[in-house]
């Protein structure tokens, strides 16, 4: 049984294979009738124990564009409220006939536990501050579209690295694809231990701003305690925000990425968010295409991770 749980250790070949397929699926979702029969009769279950707009919607959109059926589950209105355990919830969804499960949970490692119980492929849709592999794929795609290849690119990931599963996934995807990654954050927002991370770090964005081909801004994650480790929102913006002034200092073809939801006025100024070099909406479109590739390869048994 193959699962997609983490970006750590995924080979370049597997990443490129998924991105290549995603390019083909982009063409499908731009058609007048954006649907192909590849997964007809399969059922994809989305188990989101934590709030999500774009990840949940785009997995469901991806499943439907492949003609799969979807089962979805929201904790607020489920038997979790009555005390049902994660394991029993998973076994119930399995018994309903799910052929693949997408799991988001606030606890690190939750998707690995689900994979032990599910007896079907599992995709990690985000586990706490740990991993979010499909986000890393959809973030790699606009870089590939814009630059042709990630080999030799210099990418900055700016902001709340410590609480970010996006950063943990993207570091491994970007570097496996050949880019050099610098994490830029105040020391309090860096993970306590960076051993084994193939990255450089810096705590002064202005010093290195002009070095990068892409700047990836992270959201300040108030729900994971991210707002309590710097003095004020204004100070965060002043030191780490992509203000209009910083944006104008970037190299002319540098692009700006953000996983969404964006908090305009903190990590990104509104004028930057609306600039064509800000690829946030491309990331959303790509989100559906890369998730189609993941579902197609996992249910086709061809994903080798």
């Amino acid at each position: 049984m193959k699962h997609l749980l983490t970006m750590e250790g995924v080979t370049k070949e597997a990443l490129v294979g998924l991105l290549d397929d995603a390019d083909e699926f982009r063409e499908v979702i731009e058609r007048p009738i954006p649907k192909v029969p590849a997964l007809r009769g399969r059922t994809v279950a989305t188990l989101f124990f934590e709030p999500s707009t774009r990840t949940k919607l785009s997995f469901e959109r991806a499943a439907k564009a492949l003609s799969a059926d979807t089962l979805s589950f929201s904790p607020g209105t489920s038997s979790l409220k009555k005390g049902e355990s994660l394991k029993d919830t998973v076994l119930t969804v399995k018994a309903m006939g799910a052929d693949l499960m997408v799991v988001r949970h606030k606890s690190t490692g939750a998707a690995w536990r689900v994979a032990e119980w599910a007896e079907v492929p599992v995709v990690n849709g985000g586990d706490g501050a740990h991993q979010h592999p499909t986000q890393a794929l959809l973030d790699s795609l606009p870089l590939r579209q814009h630059f042709g290849d990630l080999e030799g690119l210099r990418i900055a990931i700016v902001g709340d690295i410590r609480h970010s599963r996006v950063a943990r996934s993207n570091v491994f995807a970007f570097t496996t694809l050949g880019a050099a990654v610098t994490l830029i954050a105040p020391p309090t927002l860096l993970p306590p231990d960076l051993a084994g991370w193939p990255v450089k770090t810096n705590s002064n964005l202005d010093d290195v701003l002009t070095e990068f081909d892409a700047v990836y801004l992270l959201r300040v994650q108030a729900e994971r305690g991210g707002a309590s480790v710097f003095p004020s929102v204004a100070e965060y913006r002043q030191r780490f925000g992509m203000t209009g002034a910083r944006f104008r200092r970037l190299k002319p073809d540098t692009i700006v990425l953000h996983p969404g939801p964006m908090i305009r006025g903190i990590e990104i100024d509104s004028s930057v968010a609306d600039d064509p070099r800000c690829k946030v909406l491309d990331q959303v479109t790509n989100g559906v295409a890369v998730r189609m590739a993941v579902l197609f390869q996992l249910l086709g048994g061809s994903l080798d991770v």
Binding site: E24, F25, P37, A38, L299, G300
Partner: protein, 182 residues
């Protein structure tokens, strides 16, 4: 491995099929030649060039990828998706699908589904280099290069110069197929 068609045979067959296509359709107006990836692609391009030469007209050509339309994705090794490149609309057109080998018919079924998602062709015809029999669904070819009686255990290989370096058709018997997969 036994050769059943030489490069010259393949070339003659393509020329004959081109003439048959022109004859059946009273010319090449309204015609789109679409190859099924992978080996149907270069064969379609060659057929369109032959048709253009015979009829002194330009003939639209495209390539269709059917990976997303297969009904057996969990029963095969990795399906390599490739781009579908059909540069013209097919609504109201006569589409000639081109593939190398016609066998169970399932590839053609998938191709017809893929084609239907591109538009509504007026007529769809099928051209193949080799028809080896053993259909599993009711599909037939309109233009056949060579009818080749085979056993299911045998393997028919059509090679095209653009992909494999040279044209030709070979049959491997069951012992060779087993030897290769063992």
């Amino acid at each position: 491995m036994r050769a059943v068609m030489t490069a010259e045979d393949v070339s003659r067959v393509l020329r004959r099929i081109a003439h048959e296509i022109a004859e059946r359709n009273h010319g090449v107006d309204n015609l789109v030649v679409i190859g099924i990836r992978t080996r149907g692609g270069p064969l379609a391009i060659r057929l369109s060039e032959l048709l253009a030469e015979i009829e002194e007209a330009t003939v639209a050509v495209g390539i269709l990828d059917i990976g997303m339309y297969r009904d057996d994705i969990d029963r095969r090794p990795k399906i390599q998706l490739g781009p579908t490149e059909v540069p013209v609309g097919i609504d109201g057109k006569t589409v000639v699908l081109v593939d190398d080998v016609l066998y169970t018919g399932r590839t053609i079924r998938a191709a017809l589904d893929a084609l239907a998602d591109l538009g509504r062709a007026e007529v769809v015809q099928l051209a193949v280099i080799v028809d080896r029999g053993h259909r599993e669904i009711p599909v037939r070819a309109d233009f056949v290069g060579k009818n080749l009686p085979t056993a299911r255990s045998e393997h028919v290989m059509v090679r095209v110069a653009e992909i494999d370096g040279a044209d030709g058709v070979w049959i491997e018997d069951s012992a060779e197929v087993e030897g290769r997969t063992a």
